[in-house]
């Protein structure tokens, strides 16, 4: 058996600066994004980019930019952008897809199927340039001959940014977005657009409805009801606590009982909402809206 060596972390000494622990706490309090001790070097390298722009060399001084100086709100947003940059590509989180395939779909098809209600609604809230809804569409279409045989399904993909939505609707992607998409799925669900890019097929597009939705818009949020699954990755991090709570209230009411919400892999809902139950799946966590009358039970 080959032994696994611990990867070298060139910036680990920088990350030992106690100011980074404080920066981590501030980020966690503001956004719910968390970096464990072993990943502090990543946080340090993200801060370093912002520090270079601000011409600051001391992490302690940069902490002031994030907390007490006049530019703190803007700086926090710019740092969060650095932290979440490059996070959108298709099949970004295989454990989420596996949890849907192996655990969530069997549960939903069992309970809804028993009622003869064979419809599945999925919402990608904050879909950005569309990688997430297209991933979900490929996953559901692949399951349509298996667990979802005889079912109808659709995906609502929303974002606030018009430009992102336009890109998403066009569905043209380069190698970066497709780097984790298998050759088989590329051939099945994409067509050649130019010599370097592929375009989502009409079949893929046909099950996605793109719409501009501001998650803070109570009126519009009220109309996204009946969801089985909501994915909202790295969106809530930009909201203050009160707004986050209001969005979670909407998500809770928009999900059907027994439905699940997934956030970004480093996001936490701690002290934001306690109506959802945190559920551990292999390699990922999700938030579950228990059915009425649920009183514990552990494993599912």
């Amino acid at each position: 058996m080959a032994s696994t060596q611990v990867a070298a972390k060139p910036e680990i000494d920088d990350a030992k600066n106690p100011a980074y622990l404080k920066i981590r706490e501030v980020i966690y309090q503001v956004s719910g994004i968390y970096q464990p001790d072993e990943k502090l070097y990543l946080l340090a390298s993200r801060c370093a980019r912002r520090m270079a722009v601000l011409k600051t060399t001391s992490p302690a001084e940069y902490l002031e930019h994030l907390t007490v100086r006049g530019n703190r709100d803007t700086e926090m947003r710019l740092l969060l952008n650095e932290i979440t940059i490059g996070e959108t590509y298709m099949f970004r989180s295989p454990p989420q897809i596996e949890a849907m395939r192996n655990i969530i779909l069997p549960q939903i098809t069992k309970t809804k199927g028993a009622m003869g209600f064979k419809r599945l609604h999925v919402w990608s809230a904050g879909c950005s340039t569309g990688e997430e809804p297209y991933t979900l569409a490929m996953f559901l279409l692949e399951e349509s001959a298996k667990q979802l045989a005889g079912w109808t399904f659709d995906i609502l993909a929303t974002d606030l940014n018009e430009n992102s939505l336009t890109t998403a609707k066009t569905g043209v992607y380069g190698e970066y977005s497709l780097r984790s998409t298998s050759e088989l799925l590329r051939k099945k669900y994409f067509k050649q657009f130019d010599d370097k890019r592929l375009q989502a097929s009409d079949q893929l597009k046909s099950i996605i409805r793109f719409d501009r939705v501001n998650l803070s818009d109570d009126r519009k949020m009220t109309f996204c009801k009946g969801m089985d699954l909501i994915l909202c990755c790295n969106v809530l991090i930009y909201f203050d606590l009160a707004s986050k709570r209001r969005v979670m209230q909407h998500f809770h009411s928009n999900l059907l009982p027994g439905g699940y919400l997934f956030l970004g892999h480093a996001e936490s809902l701690y002290q934001v909402d306690d109506r959802f139950h945190l559920v551990h799946f292999p390699g990922t966590i999700g938030y579950w809206k228990p059915p009425i009358g649920y009183n514990g039970g552990g494993k599912k």
Binding site: S3, D37, A266, L278, H280
Partner: protein, 300 residues
């Protein structure tokens, strides 16, 4: 079907393990004395006699998981680790030597990653929730799956079949054991734990870590290890295969039991704890592979 009585003579034969270094027994006897009666210099001397154990102590005391202290001598390693951790290393050493090379039903490194992962998560959780003896939690986590080693030796071929079935069907090992062997690693582990005169609470952990509410006295410790065991199996520190389960830890009866003993558990940020486990995984894998390199090569 195998009965416990059929396996008992095989377990009896594990009483004297020839491969266990001669210094282990006097060391363990000494470490079980009240702390004011332990002669540290004598412990250092005994550890120094065995190159393998001395190297393990040095590697662990230099690992970030144990505070990384740049220790270079056995004496400073023993002082840095503390006597309880030295005892845990020795117990691990006993366990490691009972399986002859080539007999492992699962790769040795997989077993040790889970054992070490569970030990570290148990200690971390214990510290977070104010459990009075985090080092006891560490030891309990390390030893909880002793019975897997017993079953590996007592019925190697059938046990390999158990692992194959568990892996192929993505189910928990103890379920397959009950169906194929007619007994589980919890039952056989208990026999060896008693034979090796483990303390009563550790014996309960070994016997009841899949059924914590049945533990007669050490309910809190057993529940703590049960929850840590589940967390490890859900974070790629399990038995090396995908266990298809979604777990609502806060809805589990063990959670309720542990909250009664350690009310701080109710306020634990589970998402953050999970991210900390993910962050520590690379270190755990690196440490286990470094410590058990020889054994892993022999079992491959």
């Amino acid at each position: 079907m195998t009965t416990l009585d059929q396996i008992r003579p095989k377990i009896k034969s594990l009483e004297s393990i020839p491969a266990v270094p001669a210094i282990v027994h006097p060391l363990i006897s000494m470490l079980q004395l009240p702390s004011d009666k332990i002669d540290i210099e004598e412990v250092v001397k005994l550890v120094s006699y065995d190159a393998g154990i001395a190297a393990q102590c040095l590697r662990m005391s230099n690992s970030p998981l144990f505070g990384r202290r740049n220790t270079e001598t056995v004496r400073s390693a023993v002082m840095a680790l503390g006597l309880k951790r030295v005892q845990a290393i020795l117990m691990g050493c006993c366990m490691n030597h009972i399986v002859p090379p080539g007999k492992w039903a699962l790769p040795a490194t997989t077993f040790w990653r889970h054992a070490m992962g569970c030990a570290l998560v148990s200690r971390k959780l214990a510290t977070l929730i104010g459990y009075p003896d985090p080092e006891k939690a560490y030891l309990a986590g390390l030893l909880h799956d002793l019975g897997i080693l017993v079953n590996t030796i007592a019925c190697t071929d059938e046990y390999r079949e158990c692992f194959r079935l568990a892996r192929e069907n993505h189910v928990a090992l103890d379920q397959v054991e009950a169906q194929i062997l007619g007994l589980t690693h919890c039952q056989t582990g208990k026999v060896l734990a008693e034979q090796w005169r483990f303390s009563a609470d550790i014996v309960e952990v070994v016997e009841f870590h899949h059924n914590a509410s049945a533990a007669p006295t050490a309910k809190a410790l057993v529940s703590l290890v049960y929850l840590s065991d589940l967390l490890c199996r859900l974070r790629e520190l399990g038995y090396g295969y995908y266990e298809s389960m979604g777990v609502d830890l806060t809805g589990d009866s063990c959670w309720t039991i542990l909250v009664e003993h350690c009310p701080a558990l109710a306020n634990v940020d589970l998402a953050r704890l999970t991210m900390d486990i993910d962050g520590a995984m690379e270190e755990i894998v690196g440490l286990v592979d470094a410590v058990f390199k020889g054994e892993a090569a022999a079992s491959a």
